[in-house]
């Protein structure tokens, strides 16, 4: 291993150590963040509970980010950063990771966050349906995966050294909760269940400091027209879609079921992939999108040289395609037309976004954002959407074992290519996830998991 490679390999732990004393860095502006005020945010799908471990719909993700906190976070480069854990150290063999909890971390009920709750959260997480949890469960030592030597430390033991082994702990489902599900996020829910509207008040004891807003009201505003009317009447400040805060955070994917004809033939899948005019779709219907045919958005995995798409032989078949309701209708119509041009008669049916990835259909068109904004975990999650393929598994395993971050990125490119070349998951475009915000609202952010982040939001006086 060359010296520069060694330097890059050890950079992540050192960064984590440095972050032991780091303070939160709020968004800067001339006027400056202002404390005070209430923000009213609309979600199209208010969840029935605040449990962070169930589901990933936008409303649930928003509430989980407001009410809950995880042991680690993920920064814009996909590297773990301190959250409830103020830092960590690794043993010399790279198998044992010791997380130090912040002494100041407290739940909304005022009780200290201890390693006992962290361990309970880890066990609950490992038993959940989270793809990141599945990765972590497979990586941890089976005999003694985790221990709590004292109230301030949680120790994880891995079967072998892994790249970025703590990244799964940034999954919302890994949030640490206390008695009766109480959280320790930046905002404190003022009701036990969301209902049609829930207020969350600023939590002064949050590990990154009290948020700027006094409170956030999350309201169930199903229907674009209803939301628009509320926004126009001044009763909403933030709603999904629009020209406000945005991030290229979703992949538009066409999944083909290789167990059903005609897609049981690889050449049929090649035909479908070659039939899509990605540049045209983005130019006409997805402003701000990226037509590069990659399964991960550029912020997760930097672009690689574009592959040429082979044009396969025409098909003659009828299929059913499930389309997520969050896919713009003009986009799905265009794709249906493109498939028709190569001989596929498509019967499209709209399904809920949460069901679009698993709906029983020969083809599925959906918008996908990763559970954790880290390229390795994101590819694992994607690979789980299609039947396991040996080449993909081998490439992902090799990337997971590579500790040099640059070399690992190259291996992740290889894994992404292996996954894509199966043509079971066909990338159409990278798509921006955007929101509309009232003038004078600042500090809103969309992360690479497509989640709206409100903890640094503030309002002009």
């Amino acid at each position: 291993m060359s010296p520069p490679r060694i330097a890059r390999t050890i950079a992540a732990p050192l960064l984590a150590a440095a972050a032991l004393v780091a303070l939160p860095c709020a968004a800067r502006s001339a006027l400056g963040p202002r404390y005070g005020g209430v923000l009213v945010v609309a979600v199209p799908d208010m969840p029935a509970s605040l449990d962070p471990s169930i589901g990933r719909a936008p409303g649930r993700s928003l509430l989980a980010g407001l009410a809950h906190e995880t042991l680690v976070g993920i920064d814009a480069q996909g590297l773990p950063v301190p959250a409830l854990a103020q830092g960590w150290t690794a043993s010399s063999d790279g198998r044992e990771w010791r997380l130090a909890l912040r002494e100041t971390a407290t739940f909304h009920d005022g009780r200290a966050v201890t390693s006992e709750e962290a361990l309970a959260a880890l066990r609950r997480f490992l038993g959940s349906r989270s793809p990141a949890a599945a990765w972590l469960a497979a990586a941890l030592d089976r005999e003694a995966p985790a221990t709590t030597p004292d109230p301030g430390h949680l120790v994880l033991r891995f079967a072998e050294p892994r790249a970025l082994p703590l990244a799964p702990l940034a999954a919302p489902a890994a949030a640490v909760t206390g008695a009766r599900g109480v959280g320790c996020g930046p905002f404190l829910p003022l009701a036990p269940t969301p209902g049609k509207r829930i207020r969350l008040a600023a939590f002064t004891g949050h590990v990154r400091g009290r948020p700027f807003l006094d409170a956030v009201d999350v309201v169930d505003a199903a229907g674009a027209e209803a939301m628009e009317a509320e926004f126009g009447a001044g009763r909403l400040d933030v709603l999904p879609g629009g020209d406000g805060p945005s991030a290229l955070a979703a992949s538009l994917i066409l999944a083909l079921d290789a167990s059903r004809p005609p897609f049981d033939r690889p050449e049929a899948r090649v035909t479908v992939s070659g039939a899509l005019d990605r540049a045209d779709i983005v130019r006409r219907f997805l402003p701000g999108g990226d037509a590069a045919p990659a399964l991960l958005v550029p912020g997760l995995l930097p672009p690689m040289v574009a592959y040429a798409h082979a044009r396969g032989a025409p098909l003659d078949a009828s299929i059913r395609m499930a389309v997520g309701m969050d896919v713009p209708p003009l986009v799905s119509q265009r794709i249906v037309a493109s498939l028709g041009a190569v001989g596929l008669q498509v019967e499209a049916s709209a399904v809920a976004p949460a069901d679009a990835m698993t709906a029983p259909a020969a083809a599925r068109l959906f918008l996908w954002s990763p559970e954790v904004a880290e390229a390795g975990l994101a590819l694992h999650e994607l690979a789980g959407l299609a039947p396991r393929v040996a080449e993909v598994e081998e490439a992902l395993t090799a990337a997971g074992r590579e500790l040099d971050l640059d070399r690992r990125r190259a291996l992740l490119h290889a894994a992404e290519a292996a996954l894509r070349e199966q043509n079971r998951l066909i990338p159409v475009a990278s798509v921006p996830v955007s929101f509309r915000a009232r003038s004078g609202v600042h500090g809103l952010r969309v992360d690479l998991s497509g989640r709206l982040v409100l903890e640094d939001a503030w309002r002009e006086p």
Binding site: S29, L31, G32, Q77, G209, P303, R409, A410
Partner: protein, 395 residues
């Protein structure tokens, strides 16, 4: 503790520069090229290679990819055979940008045949100086104030919460973790002493801080919203020492003193003539003026003027205040005339544009004019001091 360690002292001998030197465009790109050339040599294993110009996805301009290509070819000289025809490895790459720096990813294929041999990816940490020039902006045409000279320090080690002159020769800089005392030298500012804040510090997302100098006592009070206690610092033999602590910051016309609202940058305390608060800005050099929590300049009544989070007195009846411009715009220092005897409300006399966000201000008579120091933050939250010598054009 016997004063600052030599490296820190050396680091804070801050040259006040009229203009920053143009940045070198080399380091990040060179590091990237050298790493990439090393990978190409590793993969080539003696075979002939063809290295294409990278596809540029950084949107920084086509010359970046061309420069990178030229440097890569230079670094391959003597280490690999470069040829564009015949049996060879063809290296096609994409140059992109991540939050941490530049990334170059490539496919290596065997020609003829286009068989994939390997995938490469190298990165180089961002080096902002590669792309950013940082001259001090020329002040706009003056209306009431002549900005005679402007200089700025290099980046400081931490954010600035408040500034105060401490006599003619010293400047106090209050940060979230520590208090620092600088001495004016011919070329700039030299750190004399730095004192970490005593006791436990709360985590505050955007902390506030307040200084009140008692020159006659060679001391000053300091309070930040990270600590529940105000501290009186004195200077003894050139070193800052803690002399006293109090539950609240003693303040004129405020018998109970000032405190910060927990977890915020809002100052609480009833100040005679200004009302009960809370306040965003109070400055003992501008008695009778404050910025309230809504960002309005108040002098006992609403003035109709908005201001940002800093204020300092210039001349009698004239104050400097940070502007209330929203994010995305350059900030400015407003020169404001206070309410006069005729009862007319405060009015803006002039404004001085600054590149960044004004976080703290301090001013003191200097020669025939006025020296104004502003702590200015860039978009990344890094602070530097802007030092301006001002003269008044109108009485």
């Amino acid at each position: 503790m016997k004063g600052p360690a030599p490296p820190r002292r050396a680091a804070v001998v801050l040259a006040v520069l009229a203009f920053a030197a143009p940045a070198s465009a080399a380091p990040a790109l060179v590091r990237l090229a050298e790493a990439f050339a090393g990978e190409v040599v590793r993969v080539a294993r003696g075979r002939t290679v063809e290295v294409m110009v990278p596809e540029d996805r950084t949107r920084r301009g086509a010359s970046l990819a061309l420069d990178l290509h030229a440097i890569v070819l230079d670094r391959l000289r003597g280490r690999a055979t470069i040829r564009g025809s015949g049996p060879r490895l063809r290296v096609r790459s994409v140059l992109s940008e991540s939050p941490g720096g530049l990334v170059l990813s490539a496919r290596v294929v065997e020609e003829p045949g286009d068989r994939l041999v390997d995938l490469l990816s190298v990165s180089a940490p961002a080096d902002e100086s590669v792309f950013t020039l940082s001259p001090v902006p020329a002040p706009p045409a003056a209306a009431a104030i002549d900005v005679r000279s402007t200089g700025r320090t290099p980046l400081l080690e931490e954010p600035v919460l408040d500034l105060a002159f401490f006599g003619d020769e010293r400047l106090v800089v209050l940060g979230p973790d520590a208090v620092a005392l600088y001495r004016w030298d011919e070329g700039g500012l030299t750190l004399e002493s730095r004192r970490p804040w005593p006791g436990h510090l709360d985590t505050v997302r955007f902390p506030g801080g307040l200084l009140r100098v008692a020159e006659r006592d060679a001391a000053f009070w300091a309070l930040t919203s990270r600590s529940p206690r105000a501290v009186l610092f004195a200077v003894e033999e050139g070193r800052l020492v803690e002399r006293q602590e109090a539950d609240a910051l003693p303040w004129p016309a405020c018998p109970a003193g000032l405190r910060y609202r927990a977890g915020t940058n809002l100052i609480e305390g009833a100040v005679a003539g200004l009302g009960p608060g809370p306040f965003l800005v109070l400055d003992d050099s501008t008695p009778g003026l404050a910025v309230n929590a809504e960002g309005a300049l108040v002098d006992g009544a609403a003035t109709g003027l908005a201001a940002g989070p800093a204020m300092a007195s210039l001349w009698t009846g004239v104050v400097a205040a940070a502007s209330p411009r929203p994010p995305g715009e350059d900030d400015a220092i407003l020169v404001v005339a206070a309410r006069d005897g005729s009862g007319d409300g405060p009015r803006v006399l002039d404004s001085i544009r600054v590149d960044g966000a004004v976080r703290a201000l301090a001013a003191r008579a200097h020669g025939e004019g006025m020296r104004l120091v502003a702590a200015v933050e860039d978009e990344e939250g890094a602070a530097r001091l802007l030092v301006m010598d001002l003269a008044r054009l109108q009485p």
